[in-house]
Symmetry: D2
Subunit: 231 residues, 4 copies
């Protein structure tokens, strides 16, 4: 069994990230949350006693500062989760190039920056887990959604490469393909189509399972989708 | 949360199947075990109070009799697991055609026969889970291993088709890709390469996690491999 | 460039197989056609001067007799194409087990039997190409179409395994995923949706291209679909 | 049959790009070559009568200027090929972030910029083909090669999304996975392992085949590898 004490969640909001923060805290981990806008993290911080950090994950310096700050307050980071993504939609001919670049930077490059800092620290301690959140677009390029596909495909390439390098170093790298819509905070499942949205708490449970896996039996990628989702 | 009461494990031996039987029993399920040779199931039967049934999963009549017998003793089957496979190795030019046919019949056709009977009963009760055990050969055709690839690819096609049909009927169909060697019963992990074989109990834990998934957040396929396995 | 003199097409009908037979003949190859029912091959035989052979590709003896007969009439077989498939549709619970077994036998096991005989002969001459026809179902298990998915997935596993073994022996093994409906013989493309069906002659052109590939630059799998096909 | 008159090759060097330029010219197309450094294109320009353009494909303005310049000299672009990539290798912990960003910009973002300009023009004329060059890293993230995987995975996501959007608009978008090492210009195949490197001229032949495909029978992705390459 794993023996993780601390977790850093990057891209923390009030959906999946909040569910992860709660579940990690319930299981005794000390949690740090990082987001571009930490105002929205206040209530989570209060409830969970979590540390919060402002960070733009697509900026080298900002990520470095984040990790240094977390080093100072939590010490080792056993678990790091990367959630941020940026997307823009439209026909290829009409996409704004700056937004496409932003999609690559936030969704994929930021994953590299955070993954790299996490790797450095976990290699030093000889253990850890780095989890990345993907989407349907990680494995299928939908029409009118090229920027999201570019970012999420790139992130998957990164994760696969990291998993192959780091698994034999006792660092568990895993990728989750969220193949469907997550239930938005404060909303209910529709009564005429029950459980059609992924429940954040249920997604968190699968992340937690992967974190608990014995190293003889690791998963590097897991798809999650609602029972009524076509795939 | 799921509320499963009974499980039928087909292809029961003393490795993964035994681990599943123990874990299911520990969690309060009544377990039935089916195998071509039930002599080897005696100690498991005694320890767990499990029912055992003789069955050749590649024969229509044998599978039908199995399910009828389980109907009579356990009633509803909430969980069905299909493990059997048959393989033969060698260069294409030297393979025995009868053995190739056997690989298809045991690995894939038997999966269909068991899956079909399970489906009929689960559709009647409106719930259930059917789990299938795959291998590296489910997604990669290795040289000198065509029969295993044929059987496991076919099984994966079956599972994918069943998952798409049955998920919206509240029946969770899932496929596990065991990508590495399972620690043989009675053996220890090598001291010079710790945890290099998949632990049956750890595999069972991931099957159990998938069984516990909420239907808003289902996995249809999960890969499991040792930390040192190249992939 | 390749220097192929003879071709054997198994599963010959009046659609893709006929197109291949014509294209091969036009390019100077001597063509043999094999089918369960050779009556339907009569006009093709007359037009092309092709040899025809009765064969049930899912039967060991029948395949052996076919290859022996072709040995006697054509000598070496440089190119072998395997097209047959058998499918049945329906919900899992309602499928006829005998039809499912038939789908595996014709679609996949027959591919092995023909592939094995072709391999033996090509290994002796040190060259050759074996082409297999797949479908959308080769890579996606659609609901209500499990038997076809089982057969076509299995065939793909076979081909991948053969390709890995035989490529370094100078035998080119390739798999074509026909992802869409082929224009039926005698029909026209619909005027309100031009070119929405795959043209058999155009498919044949891609098979021919793969046959012409230099061994420094081989394809083992190629998808073909109409421009308006969703994928 | 297609009726293409002009081709723009971006990322033109003296390997694959030169082979494509020669083959296109031989088949009657007027060819434009774009590269960051056009000095190296001089001999090709002289031999083929090709137009050459300086362009940094990862810069919005540079790509726009390129297309405007090509508009002025060639008119319509029927075929556009995107080849550039940038890679850097090393353990995750040691990679230079700036180089990782560069890999994403050149390999993937530049593909988008060029693809977008090509799309605008081809939508106006109602036809065209856009071809992208991938690598083994397009589908597999190798250890110590994360930046290349990120760039090439992202490019593949882009191409898949473009193919789905543009195919029904009569624009053929295709992706080539070069799975092996290309024979460097001026070198010979090793005598002890003949044809172990992909021949640029042979790759070009497959690109040409895809360009010639009838729209009822299009390929969106094609893998090419030497006969002795393990995959």
């Amino acid at each position: 069994m794993t023996d993780f004490k601390t977790a850093l969640i990057v891209g923390a909001g009030d959906g999946l990230s909040a569910a992860l923060a709660r579940l990690f805290t319930d299981n005794g981990l000390q949690v740090a949350l990082a987001a571009r806008n930490i105002d929205k993290l206040q209530s989570l911080k209060d409830k969970l006693g979590a540390h919060t950090f402002q960070c733009d994950a697509s900026q080298v310096d900002s990520v470095l500062q984040l990790f240094n700050a977390v080093d100072a307050s939590l010490g080792a980071r056993d678990v790091v989760v990367y959630n941020p993504s940026y997307r823009t939609r439209g026909p290829i001919a009409e996409l704004d190039p700056a937004a496409v670049q932003q999609a690559l930077m936030v969704t994929a490059y930021g994953g590299f920056l955070v993954g790299q800092q996490a790797t450095k620290r976990m290699e030093a301690t000889g253990k850890g887990a780095i989890l990345f959140t993907g989407a349907s677009a990680s494995v299928k390029g939908y029409p009118h959604s090229a920027p999201f596909a570019m970012g999420k495909f790139a992130l998957r390439g990164l994760v696969q490469s990291m998993a192959r390098e780091l698994a034999p170093k006792n660092i568990h790298v895993a990728h989750f393909i969220i193949d469907g819509a997550i239930l938005p905070p404060g909303q209910q499942q529709p009564t005429d189509s029950p459980d059609r949205f992924l429940e954040p708490n249920e997604i968190a449970t699968s992340y937690w399972h992967v974190l608990q896996q014995h190293r003889s039996t690791w998963t590097w990628e897991m798809e999650l989708r609602p029972w009524v989702e076509r795939f």
